[in-house]
Symmetry: C2
Subunit: 237 residues, 2 copies
DNA sequence: ACCTGAACACCGTTCAAGT
DNA sequence: ACCTGAACACCGTTCAAGT
């Protein structure tokens, strides 16, 4: 009886519910805490029950990526290729930024699911529709690379700035000592850090506008693509 | 006595030996099989012994990256910035390709070790020595991003081609059916795949020269950097 | 003071035993 | 035929007990 009631209350598990729960759980507790066991527990289900809807953890992660792909806006219609590509990449960026776990997961995928292939196909379509040759489109897609997903690995670690909230306030002397050490050991990094800090009134190593940097590199590439296209560039001679 | 002999035979463990062994083990068995326990076993040591030389697994991975950085050639002297940057990136690429586990490891590092900072500093130095402003150098470094390591995520999966060796020979009909499905579902991808297969006599989806693609994107960026530099580009107005 | 075996708190996945 | 508890073969790391 109680069991019956529970069974009725419990929405029957399906692939979509599993994936949705996985996305939400990863959003909340982070990728490193997303385990099959924990996910099962969250769904009020025995771990083994998940394996009915997902072959293994890898397939779960594949499915989670597909869910994110579904959150990316479709291409804006009736725009020149450059605008279309640009906007779609930036839309992907918005979706990806909502789910911090997505970047590392995408980077480690080895299977390309139909949803991901479809996403890539739409980019290829934008270039071809813009008059790009198949040859140029091919290489341009490679050059775009994972930037297609709206991210690039941030090599300057501003996670230091991110964690700064709960870091104890640092003494002025300690800060000066750190700066001195940096100037000695990494003189060139020091120079550009100082220059950046001067422009925006911000602390050393914390003055990077990720969005600006992303668009800077994206536009550099798009301009490069445009130039090659105008020149009728080909890879063979 | 036997114990004494063993102790004498056994080179005393130190950080370097641990890191070297970890690199070798990862090369041999892959990243997913590199565990503290397995590494200890390989060194003929109880797992806990590793924790004397490395705080935890994260620090082990940091150290492994440092080892790779040490394998990258120093900058070639007396060359224009573009050549210097280009050659150093390609040298990094050679080192990284020797260690397939390095890309994912670098991508997931959150700590920047001194060795990595030094590596970054040398790139900044090349741009500054080439007459780039601090401002432009800053953004250019961001745009270079993880390409500085000589890799980019390959979004076209040619791991299919890699695993093809042990895949059973596929019938002509199956291949045709696959092509038909691809043409229907991903018409644009199909177009560029066919064009690429036509150029080089290669199978669909297997005809990408990674090295060419890498240099294509790298040069596109370097040319873009050069153009901005010549224009005295600045980020503020 | 140093070293380490055993233990803790987890994993993903298999499988045989139950309904 | 379906479902699942227990078990397997691992993890990284802690800690107290031994030398």
């Amino acid at each position: 009886m109680t069991q019956l009631a529970e069974a009725a209350r419990r929405v029957p598990l399906n692939r979509d519910r599993v994936l949705q729960a996985a996305v939400t759980l990863a959003d909340e507790v982070g990728l490193e805490s997303l385990s099959m066991r924990r996910l099962a527990q969250e769904l009020g289900v025995v771990p083994m029950a998940l394996y009915k809807h997902v072959a293994n953890k890898e397939e779960l992660l594949d499915g989670m990526v597909d869910t994110i792909v579904g959150e990316i806006d479709p291409p804006v219609p009736d725009a020149p290729w450059k605008t279309m590509v640009r906007l779609r990449v930036l839309s992907a960026r918005v979706a990806l930024l909502r789910h911090p776990w997505a970047r590392p997961v995408i980077e480690t995928r080895t299977n390309t699911t139909p949803a991901v292939l479809e996403y890539m196909d739409s980019f290829v379509g934008m270039f071809l529709a813009g008059g790009f040759s198949e040859d140029l489109t091919h290489h341009v897609m490679h050059a775009l690379g994972s930037r297609m997903w709206g991210f690039t690995q941030e090599v300057f670690d501003d996670s230091a700035g991110k964690g700064a909230k709960d870091q104890p306030r640092i003494t002025a002397e300690a800060q000066a000592a750190m700066a001195r050490h940096m100037e000695e050991s990494y003189p060139n990094l020091f120079r550009i850090a100082v220059a950046a800090a001067h422009d925006e009134e911000s602390v050393v190593g914390n003055g990077c506008d990720d969005q600006f940097e992303f668009e800077f590199a994206l536009d550099l590439l798009l301009d490069g693509f445009e130039r090659l296209h105008q020149r009728n560039w080909t890879s063979h001679g």
